[in-house]
């Protein structure tokens, strides 16, 4: 296979005193968190223009979902934001349940909330690990992965998978929690706050960390809202917006937690927000474990994996007068409602929305995913402008983008 040669570094154009040149960063770059390509127009080391290029991980999720039943398309959501896959699963299930009008038992709601918050913890740990690694702190990476491994073991105890869970089901969850899982998770949330303090002692007041993060990548609340940023990035700019609080789903209305807010809107504020969120996640998990009600884990009207498109017509023996030996008692009818719906949930990255158009069949006519990472990448152009190349790395890390979700 021949590869067309491509200009990596364009010839500098003399512009008075300065030399402007353009640089393509990525898609193979260790600090782009996957396969992001950023086209940079530089004046010395200052970024004059930053154009993110996405699509290197486009896999056609939305098209694939059109050819699967709602229950079968669940496994695709694992691979969207693969760092916090459980939160995606939960978000998808909540959306389909609201579309099809399926009720979820209380125990399943609590288990899902626990699982989603564990997912938030593991996502934030990986974010901190890679963000700190990009900025230059190797130890934090190793420390974070130590705790993340415990979390992944807990996930394995819960559902047998480490990364791609497909654990929630439409109308409940796949299997009940074991007593061992509850004990181990209780032990983990007891030790975890001290581990967060450990990370904080490493970087919170570290001079290098502060110089790399404070005042870098500033984003005001109004700007962030205009760019469609959600999640911790928006809250770091001081906008109080958390779907868990303001549009509760699952068991979030049963538990008490705070939405941590920053004010400066810089990389450091987003870092502080996510660290506080980890504390709040522990709080939610602890309350859910305490309140975990008994009962079924999947609702009676939860669909099968192969969802029947139509209820079979019921026939009965009739007279010959009307021409047939059988008459229909109940005509075959659509089991699924038509229409469209947009349901958003708060995943670790921000607001993950699913937009379905249903035309009364067992598979969506159209599924659109509103992914937070896509919005965050588009915000990179604004955040990085006027900064240095080194700060771009800090910005990419701090916006917490996952390309699987962005490119879909």
């Amino acid at each position: 296979m021949s590869v067309p040669s491509r200009k990596i570094l364009e010839v500098p154009v003399a512009d008075g005193e300065n030399e402007r040149y353009s640089l393509r960063m990525g898609p193979q770059h260790p600090a782009t968190h996957g396969v992001l390509r950023v086209d940079l127009d530089l004046d010395g080391e200052t970024i004059m223009r930053c154009t993110p290029q996405v699509g290197y991980l486009h896999r056609g999720f939305e098209k694939l979902a059109e050819n699967r039943t709602y229950a079968q398309a669940l496994i695709l959501t694992d691979r969207l934001d693969y760092i916090g896959a459980m939160a995606n699963n939960v978000g998808y299930c909540v959306a389909v349940e609201r579309l099809l009008g399926i009720s979820v038992p209380m125990r399943a709601k609590y288990i899902r909330t626990i699982a989603a918050e564990m997912s938030r913890l593991s996502s934030h740990l990986l974010w901190l690990a890679t963000h700190a690694l990009d900025v230059g702190a190797m130890t934090v990476f190793l420390y974070c992965f130590r705790e993340r491994e415990i979390l992944l073991d807990l996930f394995e105890e819960l559902c047998g998978a480490r990364l791609t869970y497909s654990y929630p089901r439409i109308g409940g969850v796949r299997q009940d929690v074991t007593s061992r899982f509850v004990d181990e998770l209780g032990r983990f949330i007891d030790i975890f706050p001290s581990r967060i303090e450990e990370y904080e002692t490493l970087i919170d007041t570290n001079r290098i960390w502060l110089k790399r993060t404070v005042g870098v990548g500033k984003l005001s609340g109004a700007e962030a809202l205009a760019l469609g940023i959600t999640g911790a990035c928006l809250r770091g700019s001081g906008v109080d917006y958390d779907l868990r609080k303001h549009q509760p789903y699952d068991a979030y209305d049963q538990v008490d937690f705070e939405v941590p807010l920053g004010s400066d809107g810089d990389v450091y504020a987003r870092y502080r927000c996510r660290m506080e969120e980890m504390h709040q996640s522990i709080r939610i998990i602890r309350q859910c474990l305490d309140q975990l009600p008994p009962g079924p884990i999947i609702g009676p009207d939860a669909p099968d994996l192969i969802m029947a498109n139509r209820a079979p017509a019921r026939m009965a023996a009739g007279s010959n007068r009307y021409g047939g030996g059988l008459i229909q008692l109940i005509r075959d009818q659509d089991l699924f409602p038509s229409g469209d719906i947009y349901v958003a949930t708060e995943v670790p990255k921000g607001e993950l929305g699913f937009y379905f158009i249903s035309e009364g069949s067992n598979r969506p006519y159209r599924m659109h995913i509103r992914s937070p990472s896509f919005m965050h990448i588009s915000a990179l152009a604004v955040v990085a402008r006027g900064g240095l190349i080194a700060d771009l790395i800090a910005n990419i890390g701090s916006l917490d983008v996952v390309l699987g979700e962005s490119d879909r």
Partner: protein
């Protein structure tokens, strides 16, 4: 002083022996070269999708890949092995091939995960159905994603393969 000890040799690999007192290795050149290569596989970090997270996990504190002499390098110029961790989309395929072409020989490719092996669940218009369509692959590690232990097993298989090499690089000797 005065007494000459007979050096007892320690067998490191098949055909490679270490003489501790003399601080020397003894063996046929191809075996020595293979032993050296197998013990210092430096993969290029090429995280594409979900599998990259498990690859990072394999390199992090719990499953320490450094034990195998495996250090991740960020540049293809310093890499021996390309771990294709994740889905290769059609947009990414030329980039991947370019990175592969930039690597110095001998180079090895480890396809990690179902997507890199065969396309996995993503049988769509946008995804390359297996990385072996664009470059030769030495080891396939199936799984979606494979566990870090599976990746380690893949690396051990690659080491076994390197140790058995006879004629591939013979023109250099």
């Amino acid at each position: 002083m005065g007494e000459v000890t007979v050096p007892s040799m320690v067998r490191l690999e098949e055909g490679v022996r270490w003489i501790p007192g003399a601080n020397a290795l003894l063996g046929p050149l191809n075996k020595l070269v293979n032993w050296g290569r197998a013990g210092s596989i430096w993969p290029v970090t090429f995280g594409l999708a979900c599998c990259a997270i498990e690859m990072m996990d394999a390199g992090a504190s719990t499953n320490d890949l450094d034990r195998f002499g495996i250090l991740f390098r960020a540049s293809p110029r310093q890499g021996d092995c390309l771990v294709v961790a994740g889905t290769v989309s059609k947009k990414m395929a030329p980039v991947l091939r370019r990175v592969y072409d930039q690597m110095p020989e001998p180079r090895y490719v480890l396809a990690m995960g179902s997507c890199a092996c065969s396309g996995g669940v993503f049988d769509t218009y946008a995804v390359t159905q297996g990385v072996d369509q664009i470059m030769p692959v030495d080891v396939y590690v199936p799984g979606c994603p494979p566990r870090p232990e599976a990746l380690m097993e893949g690396f051990i298989k690659l080491q076994e393969k390197i140790l058995k090499e006879q004629f591939r690089w013979s023109q250099w000797r």
